[in-house]
Amino acid sequence: MSETTTRAETTPAEATTPGEAARASPRMPRPLRTLRPPGTPRLLPRLTGLPRLLVVAASLTVLAVAGTFLLDPYRNYQLALVAATFCATGGLTLLIGLSGQLSLGHAALMATGGYGYALTANALTEAGVDGVARFVVSLFAAIAAAALLGLLLGLAGARLSGPYLAGVTLALVIALPAVTSVFGGVFRGDQGVQIAYDGVPPALRALIAVEQWQAWVSILVTAVVITWLVAIRRGRLGLRMRAVHGDETAARLAGVRSGRVKVAAFTVSAVSAGAGGAVLCFVTQSVSPGAYTLAFSLLLVVAVVVGGLGSIGGAAVGAVVVVLLPWLIGTGIDAVDLPSEVEQRLSGNLAVLVFGGLLILVTAVWPGGLAGALRRRRIRSSHPAAPPALHPIPTEPER
């Protein structure tokens, strides 16, 4: 291992104190890498920075798309749901883990994306547009709507410390059903907005079923959003988010405009949540307030905490867990022969109970979640004597 790679161990991406972060200037075009003990093999070591990110993203996407051929239609539908949820959790993990702003209302931002998509798609259908053009325009409308709401919330949130922002976003998600019924002419109240069926394009019709097509679309949108998030995480904005979270005073003294960074972080996460909501709307062909409850919002938080705050890979695992675990528990309950009364009480509640327990356990005993645990293991295996110098969650010092 050469000298340069050893020094790359403490890249700005992993710098824990603002001092370290400030020393490693964001302007230097040094490739930022995840922590990797020397000696671990790495594919294509020459490729670094943005090109590497794009190559990795493209190959993972191709892999995922190829994987859809191995799954039956229902599994593909679930894969589409996982991908859409991953969009939202990826943005949320960046928001909570990097910038230290806790949002309990990301379901409302997803709903905004969903409604933006559905209303635009319906308007375009009436205007006679359909196919790919309708999807793309509606997707951008959804993202724009979510970004606008995220910007407004971020502006309110930038002046607030953790619990206040959490309270505002909580109030937002609780007010969502009220908003849809007060403006029932547009949002159609509790029953929500339905959209026209989007079939497989004619060229592919002989090849794949509609569920697989939906999974493809989900994977593609998610791939673009997540690649963007990873680039932000590694780039200048990500560094500034860490600096503001680590020590806001020091960051401001170093010239970081903390307010702007916080607003930007919230808007970025709103955009990815909006894209996730739009994809969910595309897959399920409807959007209604019943799908975006407080419980769903809290599940998103569970996903990012269990996966490891700030870790994109952790957000992916979290998305898989929150989509598949309720389904697994539901199938388990169905399989066991229970009286229908008991079954009715357990369905839904048992999954939430497990998730709540998981959330408490991970936060209290295992901070950093899955990603943090893996990182600690990797460090331990490479430097047995080294103390665990990395905080899994950058914590704010008490004042």
Partner: protein, 292 residues
């Protein structure tokens, strides 16, 4: 005009409940610097206990007493069993653990009692008394107001005049110094949690009969209202909680009366955002220490 008077009076009674619940949030915030997002779920567990006790004994008062005891016990269990393990230093971990607690408590209640809404009876007439031909307050509203005022006065006396109150305040404001002076700071923290959870249980018990009834989620909205109250009044200020509670109660009552019940959650959201944008620390906040 009659309608306005009626709405104002009802708003005061509701506002007293919001103020009580907000006061319980302020108590925990002052003791532990945590906004306890699980306060609503903890309170609803205590209300279920009260419901069961009232069902067994037939006495509303036995239920009320058991709600207070159960609330304090839950506060004790949560502080000793869960919150003590929250990683120190990060303000988010306490909130995240509280959210986990909400999920656990509400789903456990759902499994144990089912999701159906159970109506709760009170030994008071809920029809408003007419004063000079104008319907104003029901006897139950009067009872709520009396209890709220009594509890607040009791808490004020406790904090201002007793040794326990002094120790509670001291360990909240300067834990290290208090420990050196012989105050058992961790015990005071537990006492603060128990006190706060009991007050929250009382507030929830007073509110549930005026709403649709008891279900695992019946305090979700109460929590959002009380959080708004605490923010309007400032999380650090018990008098702020009182005034904020009355303001929010009256505003909500007017909005519900003139615009309809569906608009109320939106009105709360708007109120919350406006207050936070105009005065982030609440109306009664002192100036923040300059940081940079």
């Amino acid at each position: 005009m009659d309608r306005l008077l009626f709405l104002l009076a009802t708003g005061l009674a509701r506002g007293a409940i919001f103020a009580l619940f907000a006061l319980s949030l302020v108590l925990i915030w002052r003791a532990a610097r945590i906004v306890n997002f699980a306060q609503g779920a903890m309170a609803v567990v205590a209300v279920y206990v009260a419901f069961a006790v009232t069902g067994l004994t037939g006495s509303y008062w036995a239920g009320l007493a058991s709600a207070l005891v159960a609330g304090a016990a839950i506060g004790f269990a949560v502080e000793r069993g869960v919150m003590r393990f929250a990683p120190q230093g990060s303000p988010l971990s306490g909130v995240i653990i509280a959210i986990g607690l909400v999920m656990v408590l509400q789903s456990a209640l759902g499994i144990a009692f089912g999701a159906q809404v159970r109506p709760m009876q009170v030994p008071f007439d809920e029809r408003p008394i007419e004063i000079a031909g104008v319907p104003v307050l029901s006897p139950y509203d009067l009872f709520v107001l009396t209890v709220a005022v009594a509890v607040m006065a009791g808490l004020a006396l406790l904090f201002a005049r007793t040794s326990l109150g002094l120790q509670l305040r001291a360990s909240a404001f300067a834990p290290e110094v208090s420990r050196l002076l012989g105050v058992r700071v961790s015990r005071m923290l537990t006492v603060g949690w128990m006190l706060s959870a009991a007050v929250a249980a009382l507030a929830a018990l007073l509110l549930v009969p005026t709403e649709l009834g008891l279900s695992p989620h019946s305090t979700d909205v109460l929590f959002v209202y009380a959080f708004t109250v605490a923010v309007v009044g400032g999380l650090d200020s018990p008098p702020g909680a009182l005034v904020g509670g009355l303001i929010v109660g009256v505003v909500m009552s007017l909005v519900t009366g003139y615009l309809g019940a569906t608009v109320a959650p939106i009105a709360v959201l708007v109120l919350l955002v406006v207050v936070l944008l105009v005065r982030p620390g609440g109306i009664f906040s002192a100036r923040q220490v300059r940081q940079a």
